[in-house]
Structure formats: structure tokens, C-alpha cells
């Protein structure tokens, strides 16, 4: 994934990609395309405990921990949310818990997608960002207690 890049570098890269689009249509077409390309989550993971509840769309999120780094997999029933998930995974997956917890994720605002994080209960994205950070925090606590 983004093993050689920092979170900030990946965020910058995404912002640059989005700066090439001059219309909202193009931005959304790109996000939809990312959503369609996001590998489906295996059915075994699509259970209630992995469900991040939004008011309208559902997100399933799982995390794994390898060599001090956190890796995510996720899916949603709505394709635009899936596209945004794909961006979040690209930015956060493969980093240490501390890097993830401290990530500001300014790129979301910079690419004009803040509405998807607004408190309108319209989707599970805000809950998903929170859940991604919670997983990182859980791994951090787990590794510090087992060390």
C-alpha cells in the first residue's frame, strides 16, 4: 500500500490528483470508479460486529495488525462511500497506530468532500474514520501492554 510514503505524502498526492478535475461530475466519477474497484470484503467479515452504522448506507470495516502497522479492509453498500473508503484506506492503511491516531485527514476538506463527513447522519463515513482510529488505538494499547 503506502509503505514508503507518510500519511501526509499520500494525502498531498490525492489532493494533487483531484486538482486535475475541474467539475464536480469528474470528481464524483473518479470516486465512483475507485468505489467500483475496491476489492469486495469477504462475506465472513460482513457481520454485525464489523458494521459501522450510518443512517443510510452501511460500512463494514476490519483491521489487522502486522509488524507494528495497522491494515484495513472495508466495504459499503453505497458506491460513493466505497470510493471514499478506498481513499481512506490508501491514506491510513500500513501505518503505525500513532501515525493513524494523529492523522488530521485534511485532504478530505481539500478535495471538497467535507459534506460526507458532516453530521447529517447521511452515511457511515464519519463513524468509519472514528472506528479506524479506534482500531489503531486498540492495537497501540494491546502492544504496549503485551510488551
Amino acid at each position: 500500500m503506502s509503505e514508503n510514503k507518510t500519511i501526509q505524502e499520500t494525502e498531498k498526492e490525492i489532493v494533487e490528483e483531484f486538482s486535475l478535475f475541474d467539475s464536480w461530475d469528474d470528481k464524483y466519477e473518479y470516486i465512483i470508479d475507485l468505489g467500483k474497484k475496491l476489492p469486495p470484503l469477504e462475506n465472513e467479515f460482513k457481520k454485525d460486529e464489523n458494521r459501522v452504522r450510518g443512517c443510510q448506507s452501511t460500512v463494514w470495516l476490519v483491521a489487522d495488525h502486522k509488524n507494528g502497522k495497522v491494515f484495513y479492509k472495508a466495504e459499503s453498500d453505497a458506491v460513493i462511500v466505497k470510493g471514499l473508503i478506498s481513499l481512506l484506506i490508501r491514506v491510513l492503511s500500513g501505518h503505525t497506530p500513532d501515525e493513524i491516531i494523529n492523522a488530521k485527514l485534511d485532504f478530505i476538506q481539500q478535495i471538497g468532500m467535507t459534506t460526507h463527513l458532516a453530521q447529517t447522519r447521511s452515511n457511515g463515513l464519519l463513524a468509519m474514520v472514528k472506528q479506524m482510529k479506534n482500531y489503531a488505538l486498540a492495537y497501540k494499547i494491546k502492544s504496549s501492554t503485551s510488551a
Binding site: 464536480w24 443510510q56 453505497a78
Partner: protein, 414 residues
Amino acid sequence: MIKSVAIQNELDVNAIRRQFPVLSRKVKGKPLIYFDNAATAQKPQVVIDALVNYYTGYNANIHRGIHTLAEEATAAYEATRDAVTGFINASTREEVIFTRGTTEGINLVAYTWGRQNVKAGDEIIISTIEHHSNIVPWQILCEEKKAVLKVIPVSDSGELLMGEYEKLLNEKTKLVSIVHVSNALGTVNPVKQIIELAHKKGAVVFVDGAQSSVHLDIDVQDMDCDFFAFSSHKVYGPTGIGVLWGKKNLLETMPVFQGGGEMIKEVTFQGTIFNDLPYKYEAGTPNIADTIAFKAALDFVSEIGKEKIRKHEDELLAHATMQLEQIPGLTIIGRAKEKTSLVSFIVDKVHPQDLGILLDNRGIAVRTGHHCAQPCMIRFDIPGTVRASFAMYNTREEIDELITGLKKAIKTLS
């Protein structure tokens, strides 16, 4: 001569649109097309002016003050009560209670009449297509009183199964609380028949008029319901103000809801004598500004005429339904014979939320999701729908834009 009469019977949509300032704004660089009217309607300039005039000209607390401003504010506030009395054809203004909205009206009755009259083993009947606001207060009451909540099923077209309703009615039925028009499907329920059947069993009937009051002529006396509630903001008025209407004999015998100022006649530490109707249920300083502006909205609607508005909205509904039916993979949810101007639909393999986002991108505001009617969505085995709901200021051209936008969105998403 004949021609000019014909024109008068038609709604002059362009003239109406000019009275709604928000309709001239752009969204994402495109002219706003507002199809979320079932959630809340936009406000005409007269309503906005009424709010501004109150705050700039005669802001004062009502009923108690003897100064000029208080008198003017009181007169304007009470004039709204008279306007509502006429709007729903109540027999007396004392039956018109101001609330925050439909939800508060339902809760008020659940907490007062409900707690006084519903006992263990009693039954309350609602329907499958209720808004959560007409489910949850009764659920809470039933749980508290060990009463039973019964639900009228609906057909695949979204119409109540009246035969099943009759079977649910019995001597234990204390209350039937029914939505007049479904916010998720647009179904107009046969409330008169529902009320007549309930009354035969001695049950009281509450009609949730949140969606109906803007589209249909409301005559609470002719309907013969016992309670009726609606919200100003869906009738082109401000948010935060609504009406609970109840039959006088019921309102008089019900216990009070909230205690405080205004709802009292006399207070000592030994006890309190409550005020007469309607003030008995209006504790505290009310929402004066919005109540005053609410009258401007009611007058606005009445001046244009509900019949004219209805005719225009029916045409929009017919046009939208016909166009939507031609989109492959699209299914309209809610095909009742009698509907208000609202169309709910789903598209094969496309999530409603994705459609909503892409339509917003074209300046088109629709609602997506379960519309706070989850049991209704469960009945149709869908997670949610896209809902386009039309108001007096919408046009056929806007619907054509919706259809173009939808086709493009479906293509992008599939």
C-alpha cells in the same frame, strides 16, 4: 373572456416562484431544484417579512404586558390561532393548541390523555406506514401501561388493508393513531372511514396531519377525528411551531402536560389552579415570532387556494410518475390510488444515497433513506428509497431535469 377565466384557474407558477427567495439560488453552480418539500417547504417572502417585522417592530412577551408592544405582539400571536381555526375548520379557537410541531402534539396526547386513559391490556392501533413520531410515543406509553400496540398492515401498493383494520378493532381498542398522508409513500389514508369504525368501538382517533395539511383541505369537524396535529414548516411557515387540535371535551378533561407560566390561573405553595383552554397546554413563553409568521404562511396558501395548488401538484405527480416509469430498473414504491404529490422509488443495484449525492451535484434536492419510517421500509423489504416531493412552486421542467439527472446518475453508477 373565457380564456382569462381559464388562466385564473391555473396556478401562475412563475409569479409564485418569485415569492420564494431561495429558489433563485444556485447549488453546485446549477439552479436549485427543490424536491424535498415533504421534509420541509421553502418560505415565501411574506413569511420572512413577518418574522423580521416582529423583531424590528414589536418584539415583546405576550399576554401579560400592558404596554403597546405587548398588546401588538399578543394580538398578532392570537390572530394566528384564529387563522388556524379557519384553516382546519375547528369549531372554536380554544381547541387550537400551539406546539413545537406534529411530534410534540403526538407526545402531548400520549403523555396526558394516554396516561389518564390507557390501562394494562388496552390496545392502541397504528399502521405500518407511520412516521417514527407516530410510533415511538405510543410504544413508550404501551410499555409503561402494559398496553398492546397493534399495527394495520398495508397492501403492495401501500394502501391500508381496511378488512384487517376492522379485525383489529375491539372493545379493548382505546386509541387509533393514524397518519393522514404517508411521508414515505404519499398514500392518502381513508381517515373518515377509519374514524367512523373506531368510534363505533368507542376508541379515540388521533390523525397525524404533518403531510396532509399542506396538500388537502382539512376539516376536523367533518373528519370527526378527536385529535389532529400538524407543523407550520411543511405549510410554508417557520420551523418550531405547530398545532395540536383536540375536541374541547377531551382537552378539558385531560391532565396538563408541562407546568410553568401561562398555563396557570393562580399559584400558591398549597396548589395551582390551571388556566383555561387553550393556555392550559401552553406553558412558558411560546415561540412568538414563528407563531406570528405562521399566519402569513396560512394566509399565503389560502389566498392562492388549496384546490388550485392541488391541481398543479397532481399534474406534477402524474408527469413525474409517467416519466419515472420509463426508466429501466426503476420501481416506484407506493402506488396507492389516492396520493399526494410525492414519489418514492428505488433503482436496481443502485443505492439511493448514491443517487441523492449525484442529483445534489446537479442542484437537485431529493431525500434518500428510510424517511423515519423504518417499519414501512421493512414491509417493502428495502433499505430506503429516493423520494421526490413536489410543492406549489415546482414545475414540469424541473421534473424533466430530475429525469435527465437520474438517467445520467444511473449510467454513472452501474
